[in-house]
Amino acid sequence: MMETVAVTRDTSKKPELHYLNNGYSVASWLLTKDHKRIAMLYLMSVSFFFMLGGIFAALIRLELMTPNSDLLEAGTYNRVFTAHGVIMVFLFLIPAIPATLGNFFVPLMIGAKDLAFPRINLLSWYLYMAGGLIAAYALMNGGVDTGWTFYVPYSTTFSNGWVLVTGLGAFVIGFSSILTGLNFIVTIHTMRAPGMTWFRLPLFIWSHYATSLIMILGTPVVAITILLLALERVAKIGIFDPAIGGDPILFQHLFWFYSHPAVYIMVLPSMGIISELIANFSRKRIFGYEFVAFSSIAIAVIGFLVWGHHLFVSGQSVYAALVFSILTLVVAIPSAVKTFNWTATLYKGSISYDTPMLYAFSFLGLFLIGGLTGLFLGTAGMDIHLSDTYFIIAHFHYVMVGSTVIGYLGGLHYWWSKMTGKQYSEFWGKISAMLVFVGFNLTFFPQFILGYLGMPRRYASYAEELQVLNIFSTAGAGVLAVGMIMPVIYLTMSLINGKDAGDNPWHLPGLEWRTSSPPPTENFYEPPVVTWEAYDFSEDNGLEPKKEVAKETV
């Protein structure tokens, strides 16, 4: 690694064209095959659905302020939490990181010009939009009141026909997700820049690789399950309905075969971002790179063996429950390895407290709580009491909001300057990061207690003595909402009046920082050649000497 290859462009001449100003027409966006533009399309649509889901969350919390169902009637409430769950999971969280940040940065970080199949990439966005709009339409128009899990036989025999439409939406989105995963795997295999060996890949790439595996192997199963659900609904053909020989538990098996791995689709990319943030903001190579990389794969693979932990109380065989229980506790180990390695990376680093790093710290704390409470649920004997209570709600919000959404926000802040060329307000960034952290804990920590007290989930009205804790939770949600709305505002503002961020504001070694901000359509001016390890902050990492950069920016 002696020789240094300059892959940065000649900084003296500003690029005339980058991906954002390379065409302004609507068609140049809607028919684009540029992964960066598609990522931006995704960013906008995903944010839209997030806000929609957020509004439903607000309704839930407002209703739960009082024990009676007074703000929303039970029927409405049921539709609201279903809409909240479906939108947040299928329309927001699953595509959130892979399809936006992943889409944008996977090619950049491995030194490719684009993803392997740009047209398929665009197709996947259209599928996503089609499915998303269909589902959103059904959820808001007729309303579906099954919960996001669509358990049979309620969904096939009792709930209304919009279940079918929502299912269709989820089916279509499923294929969008499969295509994204397929594109990533191929790209990571074949399109790495010369010198970018597997063990020089940034960990963000590893986690996306693992995520893609799940997308490809898991999503088709939920697709076929939804198809069967539709068949059952339309034709009453005895797949799930016990009255005619079917089996309702089969649905749960098939559903969770996908949906448990899907929770790792949500969290793995976020873990990838956290690896980036922690390494880059403590300016150190990640501790135990190989272990962090392989733990992603391990989570993806073992994650397929544990779905039965959602069925502990469902009437599945108790022996099966025990097998699933032990495997669930095993799948926690790779996460543990990751957590410890992140912590160790901080050791002897040079840690800065920029906004993205604040999010990374939040992640560590919240993932710890979310993950560790997963251990309660993975223990069969414990889960009997906790299943379908607010303990579950709190657990998965800690991992889905506290870890994934926060990782996503951290990544968004981290790469915002690369994506847009603009710098957001660091001041507001820090304020909102802290509000989110505080608001989040206030919202969801009381729910653990509520859960242990025995407040069942999906309840429009609850026992009176539980009101105090619920009020805390609602109050926290208010703070959380403010914290979440702020980035929307100041990030948008930065587009209008933000300072130019410069190509590499933090002087980081990753490939994505060695091109201009925003990057040109083909990503790099010269095809990059990689001669350094990931997170190489030493002097010979091919970047300009840090002294000069420091002078330039100070």
Partner: protein, 363 residues
Amino acid sequence: MQNNSWIPLFPDQASSFAWQVDALYFYIIAVCLFFGIGVVIAVFWFAMKYRETEKYASPEEIHGSNVLEITWTAIPFIIAMTIFVFGTYVFFTLYRMPADATEVYVVGKQWMWKFQHETGQREINELHIPVNTKIKLVMTTEDVIHDVFIPAFRTKADVVPGRYTYLWFEATKPGKYHLYCAEYCGLNHSGMGGWVYVMEQRDYDNWLAGNVSNQTPVEAGQDLFQNKLGCASCHQDTGSGRGPSLKGLFGKDQKLSNGQTIKVDESYIHESILNPQAQIAEGFQPIMPTFKGQVTEDQINQLVAYIKSLNPSAANSTGSNSTAKPNAPAANTATKPPATTNTNTNTTVKPAANTASNARGNK
């Protein structure tokens, strides 16, 4: 829940194995604190100690340490396995049915629980059991999946259509405990619940023998309507339930789906309860189940009294407790022994104690 503190933190511990579940809970909490506090302290400490002093520094490279990696893979693994063993033990205790238990049959139905004791008593949304006796619930459902959940006993199990599932417990403390449906089952899922009454054996025997009510008929009828029979799960005052609102019904002319009009009097209500398919109110589906065999004539009278009270003007006109002439009561009482569900428990049910539960079923 009888937890009277301002913020309840911990549910009642009222079954023989509740302490085991709690012990497991505290054990896992201890494990979590051990790892959680460790990691948090390390993060804080590193973050403070190694905060940036020089911009764009190149701190010393550390590649990792296999010894550390193996340590922090092995230790959590071993601890996780201890959790598993402990958890499995508790799981066995909870889900392994004792051979010598008293059986209670449970049928879930949107949105009520129906219980039947070995001795033939039926109850709805209430379960009376003696203390210190092993009870085994043999459960199934008429429609969708439900879930019997009694937090104070720390146990629950889904009730699955088309087959039987089982649950057992041995209550250790007399009292009144929440009974919930914990598997989402549609519109009134959150109203599908009631109470488990754990009674001293003597009280239980009394209850079995049937006792006189100390409630007024209207109160007793309200209790039946809201809680015990689960009428309110369909008949809500707002009219948004699956059945018509019964507010102000009494004394009105009711249109039936066959085009006829009928005056709502005691016998109409009586008929509606025992033989609901006979006269279908216009605009509704004939889905109301018959309550034949589950209510005594006494109780029907109480219900009638209550429904009347929903229309103050009508209640005045007819005055006191009705003694409506039932059309075919003889057949009922002949087939089912009269000692069925009783309106009363001599332990805890007082009108005042009902308000909490009313709030849940009621708007």
